[in-house]
Amino acid sequence: MSIAKAKAQGTQLFLPLSVLAILIVINLIKGADYFSMSVINGALYGNIPNILFGASELVILAIGMTLVSASSRGQDISVGVAGAITSAVFVQVLLNSGNITWLTIGLSFLVSCAVGIAIGAFNGSLVAIFKVQPMVATLILFTAGRSIAFMIDGKLSPVLANDLTSQLGGVIPGVPIQTPIILTVLFIAVVALFIKTTNLKLYAESVGINEKAARLNGIDPAKIKFLTYMILGLCSAVAGFIAVTKAGRHDSVNILKFVEMDAILAVAIGGNALSGGTFSIAGSIIGAYTIEVLSRTLLRLEVGTETIKAFKAAFIIVLMIIASPVVRAYAAKALRWVRSRMHEGIVLDTGALEAAAASNPNAPAKKEE
């Protein structure tokens, strides 16, 4: 990676990383044992594992949401209900398959993934072929989805009472890390590999920035948008799988509730434009973990569960204002002013400018990386 690219990414990741740092400092002030971990029944527990555990679904959805935002310049608000549907399918297929083994779990999971991809294809065709606004297109499923999940369930909250699924949602004996964390890392690795071995990033960005130009370079914008929605559908299925194994039962009303807004927020906190174009998946992942850390920090500060949402909102408003182009422009201006004071009397040559650039506050972001 060249220096300029690293710099550009550094600036984009500067905000979420510094927010994470601030939150961690707050936690450390509250109690120095923040990082401490303990081993219970052979697995690691503590604040950090809990955050990684809790954010699993959000991280996975944020990845898909990033791709959809980049290519279609809009957001899918049906990811939570899509996960509710796919996990309902997973539970039904599994419970009806007779005995529960790793094989039947795997097959049921694959079926739920297929359903997730089909949901993505449905949303994707509305957006890519019929050119419906993404939010309107996905509003359909958002509205109807939980009823569909309920109908699939057939009765209230079917229960997954067996060792294997609770190991998936908890800990596999002999493995020191909770399974959802491992699944999330695996999923991130698969996505990273896919992006590395295909042109998804280049195509999705091109389509999101300038659809007409992308088409004239041989890209089929509809196909790319369609593809990103299918990927997001798959993400929903994986998130639904993790959520339902964690819970041990399928509650069509509460599973993955309100996660869609957090997923969108994670994309934004990660420094990605919701209006499409260039994106950083790393940013969105950090954004997702930031949201989780924020929730847990507020809990740790003993903010009541009823009021936590208001505090969270206030924090995010401040964050978004700091990150807004308006404030950034002012900051840049202030920075230039300080610099010009510092370099007064020195001939303003490129060398001096670069020296000044090197001393700008974005530099610490790189250290943290």
Binding site: M1, A4, K196, T197, N199, I209, A213, L216, G218, L353
Partner: protein
């Protein structure tokens, strides 16, 4: 300080990270003069204008209006001090009326006084000789008239200084004349006008003085009447202009050994081009020529399937092929540089590197991305060979000047090693130096056996590069001219309906 100077700028410096956009530039505008600001792309014209109008803050230097020092912090402040600006792209609202456009955002009252507004608009329009009614919708006016209304709007703000940035680039000759009449009228009222354009003839037609910038430095200020055009060009380019004269047309191969690289019969598209026959030989440079709206761009788009094809039989090197989408055309070895660079060409936020490799990458396939190293090698090769001025291959293309953006798009298609390259207005809105480079490149490609279809609204340019011209009018081909002695009057004759 001369009292007749309405605007005086001294020692203006402005730097952006890595680029010194203006270095110690002086500029003076007299009352009642038309002053052309000249320079190649990236010379610093727009930066100077933006410093003048408060868009950018200067790093150093002094600005005075009518002898009084000023320090603008925003475009609004500049406007209040009497600087009016009209940009190349018209920034009015097409669905409002003429009068509304002239006074929009200016009322001090919450309620619009329609009668008063229309009366005032009528008076102003009449006094400037603009032939529209104030209640007419703006969209119903021609581009030239819209441009004039933008100027009228600026004038009404009681401006002493009027900046016209490429006002004529989308106007036809008749419209340009109307605009010039308006400019002369304003000049006689004592308004100082700064005129920025790429059309040299227009500069000489209307300007009193000329200031030339190059690479952010002031080259000089001249009386228009005492600066021959050739000298102006060499001052802008910084080198003697023998280059322009040395462009030599490529001779197509003799008739006997001709091979049609591309051949189409009854080709049509949903953009409304009538079915037409067209072919191009190996190593030939031909062009569609005609007025704006004649269908020349649409024909080019039909060949590349940029618009949806509705019919036609296509042969590449004698074999029948189907070209239903741009990708098919690309796979047949056709490249297309679109007319609208901003809308159809560049992917603004992506890097120069990504913009260069895009077409070849798409041809290679979704599952076969180029390695980072390979992409670097490709882009660096063209940044060097086409002399693309960019801080790095990672810079977003939108940060480059128009000419350099165009070179990037050219590089994109050259990288695909096309057999047949369609260039629609490759030289529009870019500086002379780059224009000459592009024309030379076209001829060099032809020598190497690439067929090129070249479209330009500057007839001279087409005459210089093409060995065959296909004349279009009202969306159909009305004639064809070839031979080494093509002249401007031949073309005019055919367009005017005289036949060949």
């Amino acid at each position: 300080m001369r009292s007749e100077n309405v605007l005086e700028m001294q020692g203006i410096c402005k730097a952006f990270p890595g680029v010194k956009a203006l270095q110690n530039v002086d500029f003076a505008l007299r009352k009642g003069e038309i002053h052309a600001l000249m320079g190649e792309n990236g010379a610093g014209k727009s930066t100077l204008v933006k410093v003048m109008t408060g868009v950018y803050e200067k790093d150093a230097g002094h600005i005075a209006i009518e002898g009084k020092p000023v320090h603008f912090k925003s475009p609004q402040e500049a406007q209040n001090s009497g600087i009016g600006t009209v940009y190349q792209e018209i920034t009015l609202c097409p669905n409002l009326t003429v009068a509304e456009n002239m006074f929009i955002g200016r009322g001090r009252y919450a309620f619009v006084q329609w009668k008063q507004m229309n009366a005032r608009a009528t008076k102003l329009l009449q006094s400037l000789g603009i032939p529209v009614r104030p209640t007419q919708e703006l969209a119903s006016c021609s581009l030239a008239v819209q441009q004039m209304i933008a100027i009228a709007r600026a004038i009404d703000m009681d401006c002493k200084i009027l900046i016209l940035d490429e006002p004529t680039s989308s106007l036809d000759e008749d419209e340009v004349n109307k605009l010039f009449a308006l400019m002369r009228e304003l000049k006689s009222r004592g308004v100082g006008i700064i005129f920025i354009t790429h059309f040299l003839d227009q500069v000489y037609e209307i300007s009193d003085r000329i200031t030339v910038l190059r690479n952010g430095e002031l080259i000089g200020e001249y009386e228009a009447s005492s600066l021959p055009q050739f000298e102006l060009i060499s001052k802008m380019m910084g080198k003697a202009l023998s280059d322009v004269a040395t462009i030599k047309k490529h001779e197509p191969p003799a008739t006997g050994q001709r091979v049609a690289v591309y051949e189409a019969a009854a080709l049509s598209s949903d953009a409304g081009v009538r079915p037409f026959d067209f072919s191009i030989q190996k190593g030939e440079v031909n062009g569609f020529i005609g007025l704006l709206g004649s269908g020349r761009s649409e024909s080019a788009r039909a060949i590349f399937a940029a618009d949806k094809p509705t019919g036609g039989d296509i042969k590449m090197n004698g074999t029948s092929v189907k070209i239903r989408a741009p990708l098919h055309a690309m796979k047949q070895g056709i490249g297309y540089l679109p007319e609208d660079r901003k809308g159809d060409g560049i992917i603004a936020e992506l890097s120069v590197r990504d913009n260069i490799i895009l077409a070849l990458q798409v041809m290679k396939g979704f599952f076969k991305p180029f390695s980072r190293k390979q992409a670097e090698a490709f882009s660096n090769q063209f940044i060097q060979s086409l002399n693309i001025k960019t801080p790095s291959a990672n810079t977003p293309i939108k940060a480059l000047s128009g000419g350099n953006q165009q070179k990037v798009i050219l590089a994109r298609w050259l990288l695909t090693k096309p057999e047949y390259l369609i260039l629609d207005e490759p030289t529009r809105g870019i500086d002379i130096g780059t224009k000459v480079e592009i024309q030379k490149l076209v001829l060099k490609l032809a020598e190497d056996g690439v067929s090129v279809t070249f479209i330009s609204s500057e007839i001279e340019e087409m005459l210089r590069t093409c060995s065959r011209l296909i004349v279009m009018k009202d969306r159909q081909i009305v004639g064809e001219l070839s031979g080494m002695n093509l002249t401007q009057s031949d073309v005019m004759h055919v367009i005017a309906g005289g036949g060949v």
